[in-house]
């Protein structure tokens, strides 16, 4: 007998999913005025989990009005010290109900419970904890004395880290004194709706956080709403561009966290076993549904072959399957639509003549799955080397010298993140300096922390989330009104 791991599923019993959900406006769940709903599905089983309300224009108006009233009457005039205490409460409530959030996230998103339990949910709580402390210290945020909130923030988040992205958006906005209207992605609304319950348990004043569900059309209504002072968006570069166009000529501020095509660069003097782990973590974390994924592996030619061999050997130990199983490394692709997009790009890699290798894993019959895939013999001209795949697909390129690595790494309209693997300190610093990307991981990859600013160069967006720099996305200097500007640096 070999050492097979028996199934070790996390119990679903901890969550109770309602058959349908309303919109969270002004502190309570209300039915959508239009009465339209859509289904949210477990991507691992295609089981319908719940009916979600689609917010229409009058729902958006109601949410914005509620946020405005809460801003004017309560939140903007409340002391920072008291705002802080509400955020601390939320952080603690998230910790208390962490397992429930993790299981729900895994059910709705398809990500492995190991990740929702160990990364998404703890980091979400940490974001509230970090920003809570800022609420009464904003005069130290670097924007001069008496910095001001922006007002009502409209926040639109993606499906890859539903609760974590909610935390990245709501925590700094609230800490800085703004109120919010947040729309989760249509395929992953459930943890945002559970978060609404946390707001109720925390006795957060009604209207400070409004959560309205819906698809792109609801998002457009938020973006175009004149009662909103600031839009924060995380998602695709295409949608980000259309939002920037929609805000042209207005006074509404904008921060964008968009796509990426990060280079993960491995030199011949790298700690190779950890580099292999970093490559795996870089592209297969969260099924590759990560904007900062290390989707382009740049290997120094002298070690390319042995590194690819080691990588393939390592990928054979990855466990794909039931996301609720505690031993699962690779979960389900979030939607059929996303799977189709990944498959289409894989096909383009095949057609372009790149060499495909797929990890030998059995795909479940139901649900949407994609086995870890590596393309070698990729050139800069291939679509799989240029376009964001947002799936577990790695494109491998080679380089000979540090200069060539930099040239190839920077040769993209994106600039979100990059990885460097070498044991030579001066080379790390030189590379970090030369790379045009907002987050550089040296001898590690895909690390996140609320104190660490995150955001992109170039078409990966503008503004930062996290750290002291992230506060500027929701705060302005007292004399900013005279010299209005968009974005945050």
């Amino acid at each position: 007998m070999t050492f097979e791991y028996a199934p070790a599923p996390e119990s679903r019993a901890i969550v109770s999913i309602a058959s349908s959900y309303g919109l969270f406006i002004n502190g309570e769940f209300v039915d959508p005025t239009g009465g339209t709903t859509f289904k949210t599905v477990n991507p691992a089983t295609e089981e319908v989990l719940a009916e979600i309300s689609e917010a229409n224009q009058s729902d958006v108006n109601a949410a914005v009005n509620s946020a405005r009233q809460a801003y004017d009457r309560i939140w903007s005039v409340m002391s920072g010290r008291d705002r802080a205490k509400y955020l601390f409460r939320i952080a603690r409530l998230l910790q208390e109900r962490a397992r429930e959030f993790a299981v729900l996230e895994t059910l709705d998103n398809g990500k492995p419970i190991r990740e929702s339990r160990d990364i998404d949910v703890p980091l979400a709580a940490a974001h509230f904890f970090y920003h809570a402390g800022w609420a009464d210290k904003l005069e130290y945020a670097g924007l001069g004395a008496n910095p001001q909130p922006l007002g009502v923030a409209g926040q639109i988040i993606p499906w890859n880290f539903p609760l974590l992205m909610l935390a990245w958006k709501i925590a700094p906005a609230l800490a800085c004194g703004n109120t919010v209207v947040l729309k989760p992605a249509e395929s992953t609304s459930l943890t945002a709706l559970l978060f609404a319950e946390i707001c109720q348990q925390a006795d957060l004043p009604p209207g400070v956080v409004n959560i309205i569900t819906g698809a792109g059309e609801t998002g457009r209504m938020i973006v175009e709403h004149e009662g909103i002072d600031k839009i924060a968006f995380t998602g695709s570069t295409e949608v980000g561009k259309s939002i920037a166009r929609a805000l042209a000529g207005t006074n509404r501020k904008l921060t964008l966290e968009l796509g990426g095509k990060a280079a993960n660069i491995v030199f011949d003097d790298a700690p190779i076993d950890q580099a292999v782990e970093g490559i795996v973590d870089g592209i297969f974390f969260n099924q590759g549904h990560v904007c900062c994924a290390g989707s382009r592996l740049l290997l120094q030619e002298s070690i390319a072959e042995e590194t690819i061999d080691a990588l393939k050997r390592r990928l054979q130990t990855l466990r794909l399957g039931d996301p609720l199983d505690k031993n699962t490394d690779i979960g389900a692709i979030n939607s059929r639509e996303q799977l189709n997009k990944i498959d289409e790009l894989i096909k383009s890699g095949d057609d372009a003549g790149a060499q495909r290798w797929t990890a030998p894993c059995e795909l479940p019959d139901k649900g949407w799955w994609c086995a870890p895939t590596i393309f070698t013999n990729v050139t800069q001209a291939h679509r799989i080397a240029r376009e964001e795949i947002f799936g577990p697909v790695l494109s491998v390129l080679t380089f000979r010298t540090p200069d060539e690595a930099i040239e190839k790494a920077n040769n993209t309209p994106f600039g979100l993140s990059a990885g460097i693997w070498t044991e030579k300190g001066s080379r790390i610093l030189w590379m970090a300096n030369q790379l045009r990307a907002g987050v550089i991981w040296a001898n590690t990859f895909n690390r996140f922390d609320p104190t660490s600013p995150f955001g992109g160069f170039k078409e990966s967006g503008f503004g930062r989330e996290g750290g002291i720099q992230g506060l500027s996305a929701y705060l302005q200097s007292a004399n900013d009104g005279a010299d209005r500007a968009r974005g945050a640096s």
């Binding site: 050492f3 028996a6 070790a8 950890q274 782990e277 130990t317």
Partner: protein, 310 residues
């Protein structure tokens, strides 16, 4: 892949080779160990793992106060760990000081391996003549496995040639006995050193590489064990020979032991999941494994009164 182009015996040739090995990033490997530590082993796989872990134990007593009586009791336990359950497997070996090898052999006969620590264990601070005599005595006394210690002083001073030479000499003195080389990783301190010492030992003829004597504060850790498992994996890819790994010291619970088996499976591979290639140097671990085994069999938690002390 790396190749071994020339005979690696001199300090300079060894230095070039060992320092050419990829570095080990401590944080990265600890993160990997932590991630593997979250593997959840249930039901059948847990039963299998517990029995495998028992079969991998080198049941050990290495105390100044050891007596023939103590060693005999331990050997009896090693042969039949759970007197109430004949399906419980025997351990792999007993591990004693060299002078106790005859006592142990008399009890276990041909049924178990007898491992003896030798070479001025645990410090290794003695002349090579003394060390070799120590080995020969143990082998003559019935040990068929020798657990030697490397000269950490020489290793840390960069005198790789001397360390190599001593291992080669000890190996020769072992005759047919298997040689386990103790790196004493707690004294090597860095994981780069652990990787280099692992290769040095393998190049010199070790059959097993072992983490620790159990006599310094830091013994086996998951990170150190992963580095050693990577070394045997890579050495096998290069030479075709499989070298064993033995973490020793500090592994006290079934949960820990199972985590180590996960490390073996996911680092070196299934081929190493055999007592021929992986051992635990332990004493108290065995009883915890037995209690877990009882709990799996009867469905409720066991207690220390239901396993024997020796």
């Amino acid at each position: 892949m790396r190749t071994i182009a020339e005979p690696l015996t001199t300090t300079s040739a060894l230095r070039e080779f060992l320092h050419g090995l990829p570095g080990v990033d401590e944080v990265g490997i600890k993160a990997r160990a932590t991630a593997l530590g979250t593997r959840s082993i249930k039901n059948d796989s847990k039963s299998w793992a517990i029995d495998m872990a028992i079969r991998m134990v080198d049941l050990t007593t290495l105390e100044g106060m050891d007596t023939p009586g103590k060693v005999r009791a331990m050997c009896a336990k090693a042969l039949r760990p759970d007197p109430t359950d004949p399906t419980a497997p025997s351990v792999a070996a007993v591990c004693v000081y060299g002078d106790m090898a005859p006592v142990a052999r008399a009890v276990v006969g041909d049924n178990l391996h007898v491992a003896a620590v030798a070479t001025a264990f645990p410090s290794g601070r003695a002349s090579i003549e003394v060390k070799l005599r120590d080995v020969r005595d143990a082998v003559a006394g019935g040990a068929d496995e020798i657990d030697m210690v490397i000269d950490r002083g020489a290793f840390l001073a960069g005198n790789y040639g001397l360390v190599h030479e001593q291992i080669v000499a000890v190996k020769a003195a072992c005759g047919l006995a298997h040689l386990k080389v103790i790196l004493e990783t707690g004294e090597l301190r860095t994981l780069d050193n652990v990787r280099r010492a692992s290769w040095l030992a393998m190049l010199a003829g070790a059959d097993f590489i072992k983490t620790s004597t159990g006599k310094v504060p830091v013994a086996a850790t998951p990170a150190v064990t992963i580095v050693m498992l990577q070394a045997v994996r890579d050495y096998c890819a290069l030479t075709g020979s499989q070298i064993g790994v033995k973490p020793a010291g500090g592994i006290r619970t079934s949960k820990d032991a199972i985590k180590y088996l996960v490390l073996v499976k996911e680092t070196a591979g299934e081929a190493w999941l055999t007592p021929d290639l992986f051992r635990f140097g332990a004493s108290t671990l065995l009883n915890d494994l037995l209690m877990q085994r009882q709990r799996m069999a009867v469905g409720h938690y066991s207690g220390p009164d239901y396993v024997t002390i020796d």
